[in-house]
């Protein structure tokens, strides 16, 4: 006999201010099976949990219904509490009367009635709950990190540090990412390369880390502990083992017309190239689109010159199949395309540049050797205008509604660097708001204003008119209400950050979700910021949302910790809410096998005696460790021979009936 205990949470006043708890209690008293009802201010608190535990022990209840917040919030909490009191945790059911009721309805009477209805449905479901025991599955003790920027590097190093194998897959020829392109970092102004390159070298030398550069993940199957991943190693045209990184080929390559990606197109590179001198691995790549050998068939100079004979024009893409226990996604971000911001003339004038281009122009290793000159005439600028929020906080189709988070700080940094190096050069910053939330950030930005004399103007630029020699910047000082017309030599645009264009594809491949800005979605915005909804897949860095370096590194380490948590286990317990087959009813049509995304269902031949004859019959069987509990098979199964534990046909019908009462 099912004895249901119902526990109604006030959630302080979150629930009780809209839902009349007394009325809910009164209504539940009449439901057959409900033998105990208790309400409390904070059911999730220790006292609240003890109410549940005590009732299990003292009131002899064997089904628990908690009417509280979303099961996504505290289902696990109450299951644990029940287990602690000796009740199978899967006999607990949650009625969501906060997120789905008190928070969205204003009318108290209606909300109360709905709360009763939802709780009644939970009772109906709970009565049909059965004891479930989770199964176990082994863990492949190897992590995959996708993306070799600072996020990926940090994650890989941390996991390796804990003693686990890590494979890092980087799409470009070298790891380093955006951070490798930066000159100095805020708010300390230390040199980006100086802090990054040692980490890159560490990574290259770490025996636990295997680097797949110039590679891409093409397929991901499986589940936490047992992901099956296919990696495509693109043909470098260089044999990695033979190459010593001497650089002769780079110097002698006759095809030097391609724009350097690393230098943001501000310099040219050879067809055979390493993105930058400190690249890891320090092995060049042949860009087959610009290489004369590949385009015309003639040349082959690099092969002739290579002292180790490492050049291999015939090299093919290689497919690697590997199993992983966990996956960390650290695919980073991009700047938005400025095509649609016609008023800034970015496409039309070389002296209107992005912040990232500015980084390269002031970088000692950059195309100008660190000398800031105008790309148009190589002259040193005397007046530089910085414009913030180019596309950020922009609700229109051409921008991004969110704040890109890093621009205020890097613009302050740029202005400061400029004023520091060239005190005679004026710096103007147009801003909407200056946001400096971060350790030492406010002080940093104030230094730019107070010590370095950077002119901060609250206001925006309406349009830039390129003149003969200079750029006429028409702006406004919104505070004073005065129009400004500045004759600038150089304009730096703080273009908004955005998710990588491949994010959709990556999300689909990994079965993780992306938000409407196409950043990957974390499992919980506050409490599970590095996990995804897919167990065993974690997020690090700006692929999850705009971030600066310290935050990225922090998240990377957090993701590594989460990953290590999984890797350190020998077995993982399964979700026991999986499919099961009633073989007597199964007709063996095996539609379930055809649609199962996890190949969790197999065919089995059973012997059956009917009327004295032995009949061999095909039936389906579920592998409980592979089944993830989506329930698709239960619908494909017409007779209902395959059902989902914890969400059975009978349970859902009972919920429907109860909700319609």
């Amino acid at each position: 006999m099912q004895r249901v205990g119902v526990f109604i949470c006030w959630c302080g006043t979150n629930i009780s201010s809209t839902v009349n708890i007394e009325q809910v209690v009164a209504a539940l008293e009449n439901i057959p099976g409900v033998v105990y009802i208790k309400d409390y201010q904070y059911m999730c608190s220790e006292i609240g949990q003890n109410l549940v535990k005590d009732a299990i022990k003292e009131q002899n209840i064997n089904r628990v219904v908690v009417a509280s917040c979303s099961p996504r919030m505290h289902e696990a909490t109450f299951r644990k509490a029940a287990a602690a009191a000796g009740l199978n945790p899967y006999l607990v059911e949650i009625a969501n009367i906060r997120e789905h009721c008190s928070w969205v309805h204003k009318d108290k009477e209606a909300a109360t009635q709905k709360a009763i209805s939802l709780t009644r449905a939970a009772v109906a479901k709970a009565i049909l709950n059965e004891q479930l025991i989770p199964g176990e599955v082994g863990v492949e003790k190897r992590a995959l990190v996708i993306g070799g920027g600072i996020a990926g590097i940090q994650t890989a190093l941390d996991i390796a540090e804990a003693g686990y194998q890590v494979d890092l897959v980087e799409k470009t020829p070298s790891i380093g990412g955006k951070m490798a392109q930066l000159d100095k970092t805020f708010p300390t102004l230390d040199c980006s390369a100086c802090i990054l390159t040692p980490k890159m070298v560490d990574l290259a030398l770490n025996s636990k880390i295997n680097l797949y550069s110039y590679s891409e993940v093409t397929e991901v199957n499986g589940f936490v502990g047992n992901f099956e991943v296919t990696i495509n190693q693109k043909a470098r045209s260089i044999e990695m083992e033979k190459c010593t990184g001497c650089g002769i080929c780079l110097a002698k390559c006759p095809a030097k017309k391609a724009l350097s990606e690393f230098e943001e197109g501000l310099a040219k590179r050879a067809a055979i190239y390493t993105p930058f001198p400190q690249a890891v691995p320090n092995v060049p790549v042949i860009d087959r689109e610009t290489c004369i050998k590949f385009v015309t068939g003639k040349c082959g100079l690099c092969a002739k010159l290579c002292p180790t004979g490492a050049i291999d024009y015939e090299q093919k893409d290689q497919i690697v199949n590997q199993k992983y226990g966990v996956i960390i996604v650290a695919t980073g971000y991009d700047l938005i395309n400025l095509d649609r911001f016609g008023e800034y003339q970015y496409l039309d004038h070389p002296d209107i540049i992005t912040g990232l281009e500015f980084e390269r122009l002031v970088n000692a290793a950059g195309p100008t050797g660190g000398k800031l000159v105008r790309p148009s005439d190589q002259k040193q600028p005397k007046k530089v205008v910085f414009i913030q929020c180019v596309g950020s906080r922009d609700k229109s189709e051409r921008g991004k509604a969110y704040c890109s988070k890093i621009c205020c700080m890097y613009t302050a940094k740029h202005a400061m660097l400029l004023r520091d190096k060239y005190p005679d050069c004026e710096a103007y910053v147009f801003y909407i708001d200056v946001r400096t939330a971060g350790k030492g950030f406010e002080e940093f930005q104030r230094r730019a204003v107070e010590n370095y004399g950077v002119n901060y103007i609250k206001g925006m630029v309406g349009k830039i008119f390129p003149g003969d020699n200079q750029l006429q910047v028409n702006g406004v000082d919104a505070l004073s209400g005065e129009l400004l017309q500045l004759e600038a030599d150089l304009v730096v645009l703080a273009a908004a950050t955005q998710a990588k264009p491949e994010a959709d594809e990556v999300a689909r491949m990994l079965s993780i979700s992306i938000d409407r800005d196409r950043f990957f979605t974390e499992a919980h915005p506050k409490l599970r910021p590095v996990e995804t909804h897919c167990a065993g897949i974690y997020l690090a860095g700006a692929c999850q949302g705009p971030k600066d370096i310290p935050e990225t590194v922090a998240q990377a380490s957090a993701a590594a910790t989460k990953a290590i948590g999984v890797l350190s286990k020998n077995k993982l317990v399964n979700n026991p809410c999986v499919a099961k087959v009633e073989q007597a009813v199964c007709s063996g049509c095996l539609a379930c096998i055809k649609i199962c995304p996890y190949e969790a269902i197999t065919e089995q031949v059973i012997e059956e005696k009917t009327r004295g004859k032995v009949r061999l019959r095909r039936v389906a069987e579920v592998n409980e460790t592979l089944c993830q509990g989506c329930g698709g098979c239960t619908v494909a199964c017409r007779p209902g021979a395959i059902d989902l534990k914890g969400f059975s046909n009978q349970q859902i019908l009972a919920e429907v009936d109860a909700i319609c009462r």
């Binding site: 996504r72 309805h105 979605t521 989506c630 698709g632």
Partner: protein, 154 residues
């Protein structure tokens, strides 16, 4: 022995409070509903949500049972195609429910009573919008008598 009330009768029915049963997949739409809650986006209390692991868990039986038990509208909400937590579940939902929806229309059930939509975990707004929209349309249609069991009282 037709049971359709004439339009006039339906309109006269004062204080009609529709009941809408919404099946929401745990990973996207249920989370979207949670987000609507966290964001305090109002939608009417007439909508009651049943949590299912995936939209592909929703059987045609459940939909019809809801109508039999007096639901005036039924909603199935799942992850956007390509976003399914279980990789392929909503692709099957898409086919199954496309056919079911057409079949229901074919036997003369008003199109607006059965809504399927894709609502992601980040679309708290869309969740509230879809709910409000279905409710408004069902309100206009009046109570479901066509599929309701005449013995069921609500």
């Amino acid at each position: 022995m037709s049971v359709i009330a004439s339009d006039a009768v339906i309109k006269k029915e004062a204080g009609f409070e529709p009941l809408i049963v919404a099946f929401c997949c745990n990973w996207c739409s249920y989370a979207g509903a949670d987000l609507a809650g966290t964001s305090r986006l109002n939608y009417p209390a007439n909508i009651k949500i049943i949590r299912v692991p995936c939209s592909c868990r929703v059987n045609a039986n459940f939909v019809l049972r809801a109508f039999q038990r007096g639901a005036d509208g039924v909603i199935i909400a799942g992850c956007h195609p390509g976003d399914c937590h279980y990789m392929t579940g909503n692709y099957y939902t898409r086919r199954r429910m496309s056919l079911l929806k057409n079949l229901l229309e074919f036997i003369g059930i008003e199109e607006a009573r059965f809504k399927i939509d894709w609502i992601s975990a980040s679309e708290g707004n869309k969740f509230a919008e879809v709910m409000n929209d279905v409710l408004a349309k069902v309100h206009q249609l009046g109570p479901n008598r066509k599929l309701r069991d005449s013995r069921w009282r609500r």
